[in-house]
Symmetry: C2
Subunit: 384 residues, 2 copies
Amino acid sequence: MTGEMTALPDIQPGLLKFIKNTNARAPPPSESLVFGRTFTDHMLTIPWSLIDGWKEPTIQPYGPLSLEPSATCLHYAQTVFEGMKAYRDDTGKVTLFRPDKNMERMNTSAARLALPTFHGPALLELIKELVRTDKHWIPSEPGHSLYIRPTLIGTQRAIGINPPTEALLFVICSPVGPYYPNGFKPIALYGTTEFNRAAPGGTGAFKIGANYAVGVLPQKVAANKGYQQNLWLYGPEHDLTEVGTMNMFVVFRKPSGGYELVTPPLDGMILPGITRDSVLTLAREHAAGKSPLAELTKDLEVSERRVTMKEVKQAAQDGNLVELFGAGTAAVISPVDRIGYLGEDVLIPTEADGMGPVSRPIWKELVGRQMGAIDHEWSQFVTK
Amino acid sequence: MTGEMTALPDIQPGLLKFIKNTNARAPPPSESLVFGRTFTDHMLTIPWSLIDGWKEPTIQPYGPLSLEPSATCLHYAQTVFEGMKAYRDDTGKVTLFRPDKNMERMNTSAARLALPTFHGPALLELIKELVRTDKHWIPSEPGHSLYIRPTLIGTQRAIGINPPTEALLFVICSPVGPYYPNGFKPIALYGTTEFNRAAPGGTGAFKIGANYAVGVLPQKVAANKGYQQNLWLYGPEHDLTEVGTMNMFVVFRKPSGGYELVTPPLDGMILPGITRDSVLTLAREHAAGKSPLAELTKDLEVSERRVTMKEVKQAAQDGNLVELFGAGTAAVISPVDRIGYLGEDVLIPTEADGMGPVSRPIWKELVGRQMGAIDHEWSQFVTK
């Protein structure tokens, strides 16, 4: 997708300018990593203006941005972002997982906020160059990766509420450890009815900053009640929508004895997650017999449909609730063992390893494709 | 309202540090001013950290902020702001209009985003000092003022989605001309049903950045259809909620011949506007005979209640729609003469000066109190 200003320059990888970090640091020990706190030696910046279009991209030392106090991103939340991961296997091969999907979604998000759009493959080429530059920062231990954060902000130096005349796209990288370093630990969710994450006609389907700041207080409320994350419930029937900042799936046992894997449909309130899409694709390929998941022997039906707390409670009571899990880039799969709902706890089965009979084979296949153990087109080669 | 960390220092005006701008500029001619583009010589900054609380406030030369690329405000829209005005009359007296209300609301907004709260009077004292520092920037022509923009952003240098461990409060000032330099010009609204501004359980009642970026695209859609602003309609009955970034009022003719002034109630979806509150207060003081508005001779009923497009259309057809207007800090009162609704235009009466029989006397009283022509406690003395 390109911007409306098609006559103006798009992102041009050929113009890349490189400023080496002469104060390069040694990456910290992998076991000390905390999500999103450590950043690599370099970052990528690409300024944009309404008059000039996308300007010279630069890989430069990681360091502070100079922003006018009137910059619109600071006042009106003109910011969209992405989260993606680079993996390094034990042979040193570096890959990205479905990065084209991130480029597509970032453009969709940018358009929703009237920020400039861009040619996705051009940005991806530059991100690969940034990853190559700092590839020694990618931890190669199992479950480790380099978290990549492309961000696009409005930087217009005037506090009118308009499509900005200036913007800045920047990409920073952070080495991260596994979300569950000691094996899966199921989380407890608080079924949130006091706050909504999204509503029809709103922006729940976009990866924009505005959806995230507003979730911090609800998360504190959940934590104060003894739960790790919010289960965002929508509407009078308390439809399950998302888990914290993840998409969510639930598995029911059908009268036939087979399983139904359910996730809410992309109705405008749900983020079109790339892990969500990957889980659905793997489950559908299995169900169609195209690419069977070895350990999944029962019939599997895959549904994108509404699912309410009434249905989940009833299934739990009847012994037909098989599992419930979150899915996102950071944790990949996040099993749930409990939902606090209107004053009582709905218990969700989990198996000895913390997972369930559907999430486990899907997770194995997904992580195999992500880490490069399973050769697949989802995994894009970056460097060796 | 103070923060949860009451043991830590609150904002301390006594610690104010002053760094003079040695490159002070001459304020531009008042007739050249465009809203929010020109800023005065100085700004106020107050950093905060979870460990130290509120730190030393500084009035310093207006200039760029240095922010880490990982600062949470850039990714997750951790930003709240206020809009307030300082007026200078022809004797040189400088006043602020109900600034205590802005301080209260900024704290409410900050709490909603889990940003640090503060002692409102302490920040107000520092804002007054900033206004005194740059008082020669306040245009004194009728309808002119100094627009003051306090902003509070999360600056934590880590991209976790949490209450930030670091934040920055800054205040910048911009001289502005009248919203309607050549007299009131009624605007046409597009009745927006494709997008929602707010929903129950959401954040419509808070002045947070997240509510504003998302309105830019709907505004473009309205403009492309030939309307100046959005009329945000909510729910299946198309309740009128807000106008662009303003609160809204509608006046009906009652069977008795008197008027009913209606604005939507503060149900969690409506910003508790200070102009909204001022309009309601003036109307109620008039209705109660406490402070009668000279030109308003008919009976006036004041209602905070739901109002739907069906009711507005019916009243327009029956000749009982008297007027409809937006109310906010920037424009004060913004009359409306047309609503594009589901493919047809609903026409709203306006009088020769663009206003109506209820908005005109309210506007005169309000502007009189704002500009200092009418002595009132709402107007706080800053300097002479």
